[in-house]
């Protein structure tokens, strides 16, 4: 392991670190210039991204809270496969039915999870699937009704991680 020579005066060791740091940041800047997209890509989304994704679906309409029930176990054994059920209180008749169900999250790299299209033929507005959640976060489910209104539910989920993982990274 280089750089750990005790006989070297402190001053010199600090200089070595500074030089290395300078090289490192120069390399990073060069990489950024050569591949600008790497700078723009974020590792994780933010609640603002989720709000933007929801706004794309809801538009200017009011987002009501209620009529939707989002079920995710509050404590999840593994974020790779999380059971997720969305049910909406609706008669599902041709006059009043759920047109679509959308699910969003706030900390995955991308805010969308699933968008499902239903019709009165569904009989019951309920879907269940398995999703991935990268971290403890809030999940939002939005139902788009046939009368143009939007209803939602949100839930906070705690993600735990297994003890003996396969990858050291």
């Amino acid at each position: 392991m280089a750089g750990k020579r005790i006989d070297q005066p402190r001053r010199k060791r600090r200089q070595v670190a500074t030089r290395r740091d300078a090289l490192r940041s120069a390399g990073a800047i060069a990489a950024g210039v050569a591949f600008p997209t790497l700078w723009l890509r974020r590792a994780a989304a933010t609640p603002a991204d989720m709000r933007a994704a929801i706004a794309k679906v809801v538009g200017d309409a009011k987002l009501n809270v209620g009529r939707v029930k989002l079920e995710i176990p509050p404590l999840v054994e593994n974020g790779n496969t999380v059971p997720c059920t969305v049910s909406v209180d609706s008669p599902m008749t041709p006059e009043a039915y759920v047109k679509a169900i959308h699910v969003f999250n706030e900390k995955n790299p991308q805010p969308n999870v699933i968008s499902a299209r239903l019709s009165p033929r569904a009989g019951r507005a309920s879907i269940a699937t398995r999703i991935r959640l990268t971290d403890t976060q809030t999940v939002v489910a939005i139902a788009e009704m046939s009368d143009g209104s939007f209803w939602s539910d949100s839930i906070s989920v705690i993600i735990t991680l297994g003890a003996c993982l396969e990858n050291l990274i």
Partner: protein, 106 residues
Amino acid sequence: MASALINVPAKAKRGEIIAIKTLISHHMETGFRHTETGVPIPRDIVTRFVATYNGEEIFSAQFYPAIAANPFITFSTVATESGTFEFQWSGDNGFAATEQAKIIVE
């Protein structure tokens, strides 16, 4: 073609609401992972699922990378007549799979 597991009741009464469960084999590579040396692994997911009942679409969904591997989805429909359900999955890199299930409605 990818393996799939379908759960559709073999028989139903007319007007009964039935639950349909589908599970397809697919690794759903998110596109956000990297190899140990830092090379990004490209996205490879199922993006669309469509279910038809005697040719008419009864349900469809758009999947995003947040859907877990081996996508599983449960939805419901009203049993109106005997016939065939067809389930179609499509996704990145030209992925396409189709499965069918029959139902007798009395």
